[in-house]
């Protein structure tokens, strides 16, 4: 290869150059976050390799689908129909409740919750890096995915979008050590911050005093306080509470609701559109009259 690297400087100089560049890149990327826009291009550039790597799994699951027997399909169909029936029965109740809730909220003149846009995405790759928990999904900027968009599966919140490419994007899971999500207990509305532990099946609740009322089996739902995750989606259940008085805080471990190691189909949520400025025209009207 006739690049500048092969002709010019000696090996030692080349190493020095590569190391300085690497350290510079690490610094700019990590500390200054200077590659946000460049990363989109780099990701798009590398996406062919990603699709190529995804191919074997795709072929395997496709052939598995073709080889599924008639009986299995019938059984699955029956099960799904059953599930649909149960769900739609629940939905009927839910619709009535939602209407009632909206009316009550209107009476209280609290902001009415609107239905947000959703999209189903498929898992493309799970990150190989043992130090961070990320997955790649097959929707990107073309589909309107944006940075720090919440991602769910059928059981609960799984994470947020951390990098957007043009046709795929990367999701940081809630179990990553760098991730934290504001939650509250469903039983008594106490607020917590659940940080990732680096292990897929564990979250830690940090800085919780010994006196706080938490029990094993408490369900934690997102509190919506961080303005990233919508309110009220299940996140985790508390699995162990250790109140060791010699430590400043209680040690509380929770398990994510979603099976983070068994993801396949994910749901992308779009933030609710800003309930924008109905107050101003109203005021003008009142001035007029």
């Amino acid at each position: 290869m006739d690049t500048i690297f092969t002709r010019g400087p000696s090996l030692n100089n080349r190493l020095a150059l590569a190391l300085v560049l690497s350290v510079l890149l690490v610094f700019v990327d990590h500390k200054l976050d200077g590659f946000k826009s460049t990363r989109v291009y780099l990701n798009s550039l590398m996406s062919p390799i990603q699709y190529l790597a995804n191919l074997p799994g795709l072929l395997l699951s496709e052939s598995a689908q073709r080889l599924t027997s008639h009986e299995d399909l019938l059984a699955e169909n029956a099960q799904l129909t059953n599930q649909l029936l149960l769900m739609s029965e629940k939905l009927q109740q839910f619709e009535v409740l939602e209407k009632e809730n909206t009316q009550l909220r209107e009476l209280l003149s609290a902001p009415v919750r609107t239905e947000s846009r959703k999209m189903v995405a498929e898992l493309m790759a799970v990150d190989k890096n043992p130090y961070s928990q990320q997955v790649v999904i097959n929707k990107g900027a073309i589909d309107g995915v944006y940075l720090s968009q919440p991602v769910l599966d059928e059981k609960g919140i799984i994470g947020q979008v951390m990098e957007v490419g043009s046709t795929n994007s990367r999701v940081l899971l809630i179990a990553d050590v760098t991730h934290a999500i504001p939650v509250r207990s469903l039983r008594n509305n106490i607020r917590f911050i659940a940080t990732g532990s680096g292990v897929l099946s564990e979250l830690y609740l940090e800085h919780v005093p010994h006196s706080v009322d938490v029990k094993e089996g408490d369900v934690l739902i997102s509190s919506g306080l961080g303005k990233i995750f919508p309110e009220g989606y299940p996140v985790a259940t508390v699995t162990s509470v250790i109140r060791d008085e010699s430590r400043p805080f209680a040690r509380i471990i929770a398990q994510p609701m979603a099976n983070l190691d068994r993801l396949k189909y994910l749901l992308l949520l779009w933030a609710e559109p800003e309930a924008s400025l109905p107050a101003i025209p109203e005021e003008e009207n009142s001035n007029d009259s």
């Binding site: 080349r14 590569a18 390799i49 799970v126």
Partner: protein, 159 residues
């Protein structure tokens, strides 16, 4: 002719990158060998004037982008590992394949420790011995990769 040898090296590196990120079941994933390092190691030992620190640096950036790590981490580790090889290629060439495998294992360990160390500086991660499984698997795949790439190199007479 020149085009052909370029593409052979290029394609082998692309294949290594693909193998590095192919989705595998969670249990097997721990044992994934360092494909990129092994392939780069072969080319560095065979053709140190074509593939050395520069290519390793570029591959490292590619790995960083593919794995979503902070840019520069893998390029740092790969540059140093490949430098060690490029500086000693004449001695290493005379070793038997098994001795080379041990060297590759050591380099893989160095690579993992370096990337761990840099990431440890950036975020709070903890070391688990599981992270070193790729050292063993890299050693195991080395003879096969060596054989395959040497055949390719000789057949296409890449120099």
């Amino acid at each position: 002719m020149i085009r052909k040898r370029h593409t052979a090296i290029f394609i082998s590196i692309i294949i290594a990158l693909v193998l590095q990120i192919v989705p595998l079941p969670f249990q097997v994933d721990l044992y994934r060998p360092d494909w990129v390092l092994v392939v780069l190691a072969y080319w560095t030992m065979a053709l140190p004037h074509r593939v050395n620190v520069g290519i390793a640096f570029i591959c490292g950036i590619a790995v960083d982008v593919l794995m979503g790590t902070t840019l520069g981490i893998h390029s740092f580790g790969l540059s140093i590992s490949v430098y060690v090889l490029a500086a000693n290629y004449q001695r290493l060439r005379n070793y038997s394949v098994w001795q080379q495998a041990i060297v590759i294992g050591l380099l893989s360990a160095l690579y993992h420790l370096l990337t761990f160390w840099v990431q440890h500086l950036l975020t709070d991660i903890y070391f688990q011995l599981d992270y070193l499984w790729p050292v063993l698997t890299s050693m195991v795949i080395w003879p096969w990769v060596f054989w395959l790439l040497r055949r390719t190199r000789r057949q296409l007479s890449i120099t």
